[in-house]
């Protein structure tokens, strides 16, 4: 047990909490039963950008030492079916190291493998294959959830589905996940065939994303928001069939790390423009095929430890929206360009259909994620304006990234919020589970 100052990956708005680690379901139930006034929250690897994994003045439970079946086992993978039962604190990195030599890979992965499986459920994470496969929860066969009112429950989409779907995307506010069973994807190799398309305008990017998503399992675009025409690079890939998974190499450990927080942000309009120029020119003109290792394709930033530190002492805000219409997407990109904010990382793709989880982020439309230095002048107003455009179009922002949305916009963004609250009130009537996010947004 220790008192610690916690932030999200954006390194903004720190708060102090009492951090404890739990080693069994019984210990978790004990923590929930003896919670103080400021409540309890589970925290994984702290990769949500805002304050979702903080609980100022309260208790934060880390699950890294919790095993399954009452023991110390972290992963139980059936090599025949690819069904993996995982302890909640298992990272996708650990899961890949365990499963890839046997020919299995996470069915859905975000842009970093430093997330836990329980966090992946709680944020209902998506990846480059959302248009085809949906979110992480589409592959979750079952979870176990410790709740304040109903004890520890086995849940799935057919067993107490309302509690299951309230937990998916529920930001840890329905209980503490103690086990996740996920169906992995068979892969015959550790490489991906990738088609890159360097595009000189947003029109071309949009067309290439549509084409990629028609043909390939994984598609994503990087766009240069600062450029006049919205140029960008679309990458679309598929796993390569192979025959010898036992010899598959494992992802390299990060070799580079940003060792300290620099005194000021390294990202300004001009350094970002230079970075974007180099990044754009790295790719050959037009369409191009290459074969890439899985990690280079899925986790380009995982090669650099603590990359969030380049944003300096002010930290960063990641803003991610989904909007149903292409027109609104274009307006948002244009407003970001005219807002003269430095945007190095802007990621664009389309989503497929939404699922049954009331707080799950993805819905049919275009999603755009941008990393912004927090100290950018005028940022608060700019993002409020983008929220207004988003809500007017029937879109929403992503709670796992959020650090600043207006609470009153949530019911419009998440129309089934009321239903989610009803389920939450059933499993946690005393609001034992709480986070800085839940307090800030009055969830």
């Amino acid at each position: 047990m220790s008192e610690r100052l916690l932030t999200g990956w954006g390194r903004t708005a720190p708060s102090r909490a009492c951090v404890v680690s739990a080693h069994s379901e019984a210990e978790i139930e004990e923590v929930l039963a003896t919670a103080g006034r400021r409540g309890v929250l589970a925290r994984g690897l702290g990769r949500s950008y805002g304050d979702a994994a903080q609980n100022g003045g309260g208790t934060v439970v880390e699950l890294g030492e919790l095993g399954i079946d009452g023991g110390r086992t972290a992963i139980d993978l059936d090599p025949a079916t690819g069904f993996a039962r995982c302890a909640p604190g298992v990272s996708l990195d650990a899961l890949i190291r365990h499963a890839l030599p046997l020919g299995w890979f996470p069915p859905v992965t975000p842009g970093t493998r430093w997330v836990t499986v329980a966090g992946a459920v709680a944020a209902d994470v998506h990846g480059k294959n959302h248009h085809r496969d949906g979110t992480f929860s589409a592959f979750v066969r079952a979870i176990r959830l410790s709740t304040p009112a109903l004890g520890t429950l086995p849940l799935s989409s057919s067993h107490s589905p309302d509690i299951f779907w309230a937990t998916v995307g529920g930001m840890g506010l329905t209980g503490i996940i103690t086990e996740v069973e996920v169906a992995l994807r068979p892969v015959g190799s550790a490489v991906v065939d990738v088609e890159t398309s360097r595009c000189d305008s947003l029109d071309e990017v949009i067309e290439a994303v549509r084409r990629g998503e028609g043909d390939r399992r994984y598609t994503v675009a990087w766009i240069d928001v600062q450029s006049r025409n919205g140029r960008g690079v679309v990458t679309a890939g598929d796993h390569v069939d192979g025959s010898a998974p036992a010899t598959l190499p494992l992802p390299p450990r990060p070799r580079l790390s940003i060792p300290v927080v620099p005194p000021g942000p390294l990202l300004t309009r001009s350094t970002v423009a230079a970075f974007n120029e180099i990044w754009f020119r790295r790719f050959p003109r037009g369409r191009h095929l290459l074969r890439q290792p899985l990690w280079g394709f899925f986790y380009p930033l995982d090669g650099v430890g603590h990359w969030n530190r380049v944003y300096g002492p002010g930290g960063l805000v990641q803003y991610q929206v989904v909007v149903p219409s292409e027109g609104t997407l274009r307006t948002i990109v244009e407003r970001l360009r005219k807002g003269r904010v430095p945007v190095a990382l802007a990621v664009l793709k389309t989503f497929g259909a939404a699922n049954a989880a009331p707080l799950s982020f993805p819905m049919v439309g275009w999603t755009l994620a941008v990393d912004l230095p927090r100290d950018t002048p005028g940022l608060a107003q700019l993002l409020d304006d983008l929220d207004a455009l988003t809500v007017a179009d029937g879109g929403r922002t992503y709670l796992a990234k959020d650090a600043r949305v207006r609470p009153e916009l949530l019911p419009a963004m998440y129309p089934r919020l009321g239903h989610w609250r009803e389920v939450r009130d059933r499993v946690d009537p005393g609001r034992v589970l709480s986070s800085d996010l839940s307090r800030r947004l009055a969830l």
Binding site: P14, R16, G57, R406
Partner: protein, 253 residues
């Protein structure tokens, strides 16, 4: 909660009729609104301020609470009530009296009264607020100090010494709170044109309450621990503090 971009959702203003304090509250709650508690002695005046604020910023919900800085044994109860409905994200300690230096020299009771508000009472409230904010694991305390506290001057050393007391106290409290999730910002304005200074000859580098509010808001959003308003006073005060006594006396400040 304060969000990543520095918007608080609730603010306590101690010195509920202070022009500087009200300007800070207005500036911090301007964009998003929220809960504002005005704490002070003059209820009628605070209610006027509350009405004016609600007119300008309809998204701000104002409460008025009776707080007398000089009766320190009431502070615990008052602050418990303020913190019980929910977190207080920012507490601005802006209560202050200027006193009358000439009168204090013949009636020392007048000097004691200045110290009791500016130093003793404010210190007591700051400690009560700090304890509760540590309990919530986050928060920002803003203490209105003054450059008058940085070097004693014959024209206002009673007021200046009360500000010196609260300033040194704030520096120490800020360090104690380091790592607790609670920050303390010490604001050192120069001459501010307000009711308190009405009738006095404005000093060089005089500012209005809105300039203090802007500077304070940037510190609440950002990372500065000490703010001079205007910023040039930081260098002026370094110079003045370095002056030998004889020379300083001849300046007749």
């Amino acid at each position: 909660m304060i969000d990543a971009l520095g918007n608080p959702q609730s603010l306590l203003l101690v010195g509920g009729t202070s022009e500087i304090g009200l300007a800070i509250a207005q500036r911090l709650l301007r964009d998003r609104g929220g809960r504002l508690v005005l704490a002070g002695r003059d209820r009628a005046h605070m209610e006027d301020a509350a009405r004016a604020l609600s007119r300008d910023l309809p998204a701000v919900e104002v409460e008025v609470v009776h707080l007398d800085l000089t009766t320190t044994n009431t502070h615990d109860g008052v602050l418990s009530d303020v913190f019980s409905p929910g977190d207080v994200d920012v507490a601005v300690l802006a209560a202050g009296v200027l006193g009358d230096q000439r009168r204090a020299e013949v009636d020392p009771g007048d000097a004691v009264a200045v110290a009791q508000v500016n130093y003793v009472g404010t210190m007591s409230v700051a400690l009560h607020v700090a304890m509760r904010m540590e309990g919530q694991g986050h928060g920002v305390i803003v203490v209105l100090s003054s450059v008058a506290g940085l070097r004693g001057r014959r024209s206002n050393y009673v007021y200046g010494s009360s500000k010196a007391g609260i300033d040194v106290f704030s520096q120490g409290l800020a360090d104690r709170l380091h790592g607790s999730g609670v920050r303390l910002v010490t604001v050192r304005p120069g001459f501010v044109r307000t009711r308190m200074t009405a009738g006095l000859e404005p000093a060089p580098l005089a500012v209005g309450p809105y300039e203090v509010a802007e500077a304070t808001a940037s510190a609440v959003v950002g990372r500065a621990d000490v703010v001079y308003v205007p910023p040039a006073l930081r260098w002026v005060m370094i110079g003045l503090r370095a002056l030998p006594g004889g020379l300083f006396r001849r300046l007749d400040l």
